[in-house]
């Protein structure tokens, strides 16, 4: 399971050119974006939720469960995003990422540690060249309410401190008011500020409310050059639901069919149990396909999920549940 970052398929500067080509327009206007996004096939809420529920009834046992647990651990962006975060807490989290289960060193490492921009340096120090990435939330996370200049400075700060990945938030106000071009332009600008860092675009689906909006925001984020589309900040409920993730997986699948470019998906917030994580993996498998079943293309934004995955992993190995006392953990996050 490699965590090597492929070179971004789209560089920042060619996103508008490609967008014009995809839309078939000579000039990218809000009208053109609106027609394109509103021309996407709608989502029937009842049908989408029924499909997600049926995927949730898959019964994953024994060897396939062991495989899924290890895969899920390797896909975690181990996250702490608290106002109360300290250097010590971030270092603790990063050390945990390097040795998720001290009682079983064969346990895979999470994909990344996800922190606020000012904590990137502390995480970087611990993680070094271990292969575990440092991801930073940026662009006035979680609300995104700041001027573009401030957002870009936020990104540049995190990148210069050594972030491998940037998790930006879109301007939901602009999106909901129909100003798609502004959202597009901001993503393009942030992508440019990222340089070689991979860009995850947080749509905050809990604020977009409808599945039609989730689909449109997914397409808009991919069109603007996002390397990943991500559900939520974790600060708004509902966060990552299975139906929302299903819609996003359909979007990345269809986007690859349209452009040949693969984009990752990251549900974040609210996924706390192994059982839930496995439902997401089943959905990835049956909707987007096996190509997405690596941490290169699928991540979980989570913190406490790791504890339950390790608990279940120990149970599979020993046949008995150990209990929370046997899961090494620094202070649990509220995330």
């Amino acid at each position: 399971m490699s965590t090597d970052t492929a070179a971004p398929v789209t560089t920042a500067s060619d996103a508008p050119a490609r967008a014009r080509e995809v839309l078939g327009v000579s000039r990218l206007t809000n009208t053109a974006l609106t027609s394109w996004l509103h021309g996407l096939s709608g989502v029937d809420q009842v049908g989408a939720e029924a499909r997600a529920a049926s995927l949730g009834t898959r019964s994953i046992k024994t060897t396939s469960k062991a495989w899924a647990i290890d895969q899920a651990i390797s896909m975690i962006d181990l996250t702490t995003l608290e106002g109360a975060d300290t250097a010590g807490r971030v270092r603790g989290l990063a050390i945990r990422a390097l040795t998720p289960d001290p009682s079983d060193l064969s346990t895979p490492r999470p994909a990344a540690v996800c922190v606020y921009g000012d904590m990137v340096g502390h995480a970087r120090d611990v993680l070094g060249d271990s292969g575990v990435k440092v991801a930073a939330v940026a662009t006035a996370f979680p609300s995104g309410r700041a001027s573009l200049a401030v957002k870009l400075a936020d990104v540049a700060d995190a990148v210069s401190a050594g972030a491998d990945e940037i998790d930006m938030v879109i301007d939901r106000g602009a999106f909901l008011s129909g100003d798609y071009l502004s959202v597009f332009d901001q993503i393009v600008a942030v992508k440019e500020a990222c340089g070689d860092a991979r860009l995850k675009v947080i749509m905050e689906t809990g604020e977009l409310v409808t599945y039609d909006n989730v689909r449109r925001a997914s397409y808009l984020s991919m069109l603007a050059g996002g390397d990943f589309i991500k559900t939520s900040t974790g600060k708004v409920a509902p966060a990552a639901t299975l139906p929302v993730t299903l819609i996003m997986l359909q979007a990345v699948r269809d986007w690859r069919g349209l452009t040949g470019q693969q984009v990752g998906v990251k549900p974040a917030g609210g996924i706390r149990t192994s059982k839930d994580a496995i439902k997401f993996l089943v959905t990835v498998h049956e909707v987007a396909g096996e190509d997405w079943l690596t941490n290169q293309w699928f991540r979980f934004g989570a913190s406490s999920l790791l504890n339950d995955l390790i608990l279940q992993r120990q149970k599979l190995a020993t046949g008995a549940y150990s209990g929370a006392d046997y899961i090494a953990d620094d202070s649990p996050s509220l995330y």
């Binding site: 049908g47 499909r51 060897t63 396939s64 899924a68 690596t294």
Partner: protein, 481 residues
Amino acid sequence: MPTFEYAPAPESRSVVDLQSSYGLFINGEFVDSRGGTPFKTISPATEEVLAEVCEASAEDVDRAVAAARAAFGSWSSLSGADRGKYLFRIARIMQERAREFAVLESLDNGKPIKESRDVDVPIAAAHFFYHAGWADKLAYASLGQNPRPHGVVGQVIPWNFPLLMLAWKIAPALATGNTVVLKPAETTPLTALLFAQVCQQADLPPGVVNIITGAGPTGQALIAHQDVDKVAFTGSTAVGKAIARTIAGTRKKATLELGGKAANIVFDDAPVDQAVEGIVNGIFFNQGHVCCAGSRLLVQESIAQEVEDKLKARLATLRVGDPLDKNTDIGAINSAEQLERINTLVKVGEDEGATRWSPECELPANGFWFRPTVFTGVSQTHRIAQEEIFGPVLSVLTFRTPGEAVSKANNTPYGLSAGIWTEKGSRILWMADQLKAGVVWANTFNKFDPTSPFGGYKESGYGREGGRHGLSAYVTTGAAT
């Protein structure tokens, strides 16, 4: 490249206590047949013999009808509230023994356990709960003046939803005060016999429900029996017509729920991903052994290619195999005979020039299996667009305008169900008005509920089952004669 193989996740068979042979359930007890020949019922997934049951003789039918007649007086004079108590009790026992029913249904029928567990058994119990609630309210159900039972009802049900069809038949009959003689299909008698045990467990008075196993001749003897007042049948149109001829000129009332060749109509503004799910659910649910299956896909030409591509990609993820595995999507074809019929019609489709496609999937060595199959390039004059295949075979046709969709959808002797996929509400209402089908689903397919009447137009039969409308088939009204 990672592979996510699902390990086998079989539901345990240990919950089912199979006897080596079963008698007939007459007058509250299991009795031996008089002169009937025994036959074996097998698991279509493995061809393993599950049990031996009896083909009821004419004399057995006589005994069963006599038992039902004897019970009718006291059963029909019970208060509605008291009849309702029995139905509630049956419903609760069915829920308590749901896993047993589900495993037995999947064993005997071949349908995936996830369907028997999540659809057949819960909806069967729901029918008893629903009709239990009606039992003491019949006078207020707008059925007409003085609603009262017909008497003895003879019921013959098919093999595709053995327990669910039993519930559709028995629950309204009992709620309205009739007594019942029911014959399950010859290939799927076991859940009906388990239901007979439930009747005993619920202390249902002897003779109110009688269950006799057998094949066509037994059903024929029951339908033709002089002391049967009403007939209810679900099955093929050919047999339905024979029944109608048998009872013509007699006092017998009848409801017939017969075949179908439903159109599932997808407009270019449909929610495509959900429509693809609906197409899959419409024709591959229960291996396509569904009278209201959406066996004709009518898709608007402008999105035909997109729908076809997405449908094929989706079908590649279907899991065909052991019905008792919780991850199985498509189980076994119910019988060798049915498999032969599917093979014959599929061959006809190929010979007539339609393009056949199936996903790659391994099929078990024993048992009766058929890959999910899609025919494209089908036109109305192809036999696979006209005849009911009753298997996992979809015929894809295209249309250009709403009017054309309506004409093609209605251009069939059947009229059981139809599906409409569009985001435009006004079009849904307009289409539903034009389609000659008893059930029209909008942006969904194969949804069943006890409160919703179900039944056909044209050669799909007459009468309704479920809802208030379904009750009226089991009562006579007007001044007493």
